[in-house]
Amino acid sequence: MWEGLFSGMMVGIQTTLVPFNMAIVLFGCFVGSFIGMLPGLGPITAVALMIPVTYSLEPSSGMVLLAGVYYGAIFGGSTCSILINAPGEAATVATAIDGYPLAQKGKPGKALAIAAYSSFSGGTIAVVLLMIAAPAMAMVAKNFQSSDYFALMVLGLTAVSAFAGKGGFLKALLMTVVGLMLATIGTDQTSGVQRFTFGSINLLDGLSFLMLAMATFAITEALMMVLKKQDSTQVFDSKNIGNISDLRVTKAEFKKIAPTVGRSSLLGFFIGALPGAGATLGSFLSYGMERNLASREDKKEFGKGSIIGLAAPETGNNAASTGSFVPLLTLGIPGSGTTAVMLGALIAYGIEPGPRMFVERPEVFWAVIMSMYLGNVFLLILNLPLIPYFARLLAVPRTVLIPSIAFFSIIGVYLITFNTFDIYMMIGISVIALLARLLNYPMAPILLGFILGGLMEDNLRRSLMIYDGSLAFLWQRPTTLAINLITVIVMASPLIQLLLERRKNRFTDADSGSTGTRG
């Protein structure tokens, strides 16, 4: 195993250290930080907007770019959370809890520096774990058959829904099904039959993944900003929040956050590696864990600008972002919405993600992993001194920002297909997506369902053919059965949670009732 690991690392280093790829990593980190820092824009939008650029690159360079954009955007999102308390996406919400109060105390530079060091440490520790876990997982997954893949895809799709939050499980599942429905549009790959094309030649190849990603995230985000009227220039004023250039962190502070960084890196990575959990859960659980472990004195500081409270979610979300590459690279199951977009990009390159990619395209597999080391270093040494300048981006007026997002989304789709039908389709879907978002229906599961739809149907078809039309494939193979059991547990977890909550409420009601009687 160690020999394989070493040779894989060498392949990755050779691919990453090509000057062009190094420049790509740098560019990806820079653009990711830039987009992630803009209020309201998260990593999914950042990655989706960069996909058209990757089409002109080699697969390994393209994936390295997207990975750079991903962790750059996570890093950028933290800046937005700390300085203006406006997290671009859920993964940086926990950062704002202590980061923003620390900035308000007149220490924005320190807050940003702690966030940067924590992100770097979390990201780097997680890459080491990824380097060990991913090949091991890929070796196990090499023996997977179509029934196992089908079961894994069902698990991936349900896991994303299960982590959708209180009350969101059914809605997330429904959105996944909508995504699967959209995936059936076009010519059926096996039989060559047209499905849901309504006689239009524009739909023969099905919907474009890029078009759907832009419609559900980038354009919808721009329309949401128009609807909400908030002007970003009114929120950020560097003069009000102290000296942003003072990035000094004392030795005592480093000492204080070091154990937090270590623990949160491990927790974040393992959370991220679970299909569906992603960076959001990683950051919140790390924050919760550190709050529980903190001394009584430190506990009082939480929510008021605690450096531990800032370091924990920052480490956790970066480690989880790296961890989410484990299911993506080894099983072809994305761990989050952003990795779902990256999976779509891989498929567009004609690469089938999963254990076969590990064997057939090791340069892509290892280049992504090794580029993360480089990306983390770039993020630290380049972004830290640039923070004061980057912060000015928060003052980009929405009058310029919104049309620019719409412009990049439209030309991103147009320059790939040169077909205006896709643009009309994208605008139509984005209007429906906007309404669905306002009604609290999540968008990431649609994309996930759409991307996995074709592969899922193929594997289901193959499994049924092998088992002569019988559904016995669901339980006859031990691996499939084990995965299906996990799926059942994942599906049952929101129900169990609901029942436990109701039981707790009943007890609370009974207690307050008895107290009331006594009183």
Partner: protein
């Protein structure tokens, strides 16, 4: 809150209206799946081009129905359409959507450069930017820069607008 009001909140809660929409989508999708053409041979197969769409239609309908039937998720703070849709700048959002449609339409006729500059200027103006300098400096260099990057550096062919052929500028 009166009994009737809370009943109305449950019936008309936005997530249920959304679910009703997706129920209709799932049923229509399932009905349309009957129109997927099948050869005589594939009709005998266990898994054919209609199988997945039928299964998805059933699952989609069941999930939508469950959201409609089960109690709303946020009972302690019921959301109504009024809460969600009021106070939003709908007029401007529709104008942006219309502008995007127009941009897609004129792209073929005027070509990438002219259509994009017009779209960006109109977009900035629509969202409240009135300074001519900003309108020009934020749109023209960006569009020209992207055009140069795509066509000259990455070697992509970006077709000129039809109008140039009609006017005889390009033959």
């Amino acid at each position: 809150m009166s009994m009737q009001q809370s009943y109305q909140n449950i019936i008309l809660s936005p997530e249920k209206i959304g679910a009703l929409f997706f129920l209709m989508v799932s049923i229509s999708y399932g009905l349309y799946a009957f129109k997927i053409p099948l050869t005589l041979l594939s009709q005998q197969e266990t898994f054919n081009a209609r199988t997945m769409p039928f299964a998805l239609s059933v699952i989609g309908s069941l999930l939508s129905a469950m959201i409609i039937i089960l109690p709303p998720t946020k009972q302690e703070k019921p959301e109504t359409f009024h809460h969600i849709f009021s106070g939003l700048d709908w007029a401007r959002a529709w104008k942006v959507v219309t502008m995007m449609f127009i941009y897609a339409f004129i792209m073929t006729w005027l070509g990438f450069i002219i259509a994009s500059i017009l779209f960006l200027c109109a977009g900035f103006y629509l969202l409240g930017e009135r300074r001519i300098k900003v309108l020009v400096l934020a749109s023209i260099p960006l569009v020209i820069g992207i055009w140069l990057l795509m066509s000259k550096i990455l070697g992509m062919y970006i077709a000129p607008g039809e109008i140039f052929y009609l006017m005889g500028v390009i033959k």
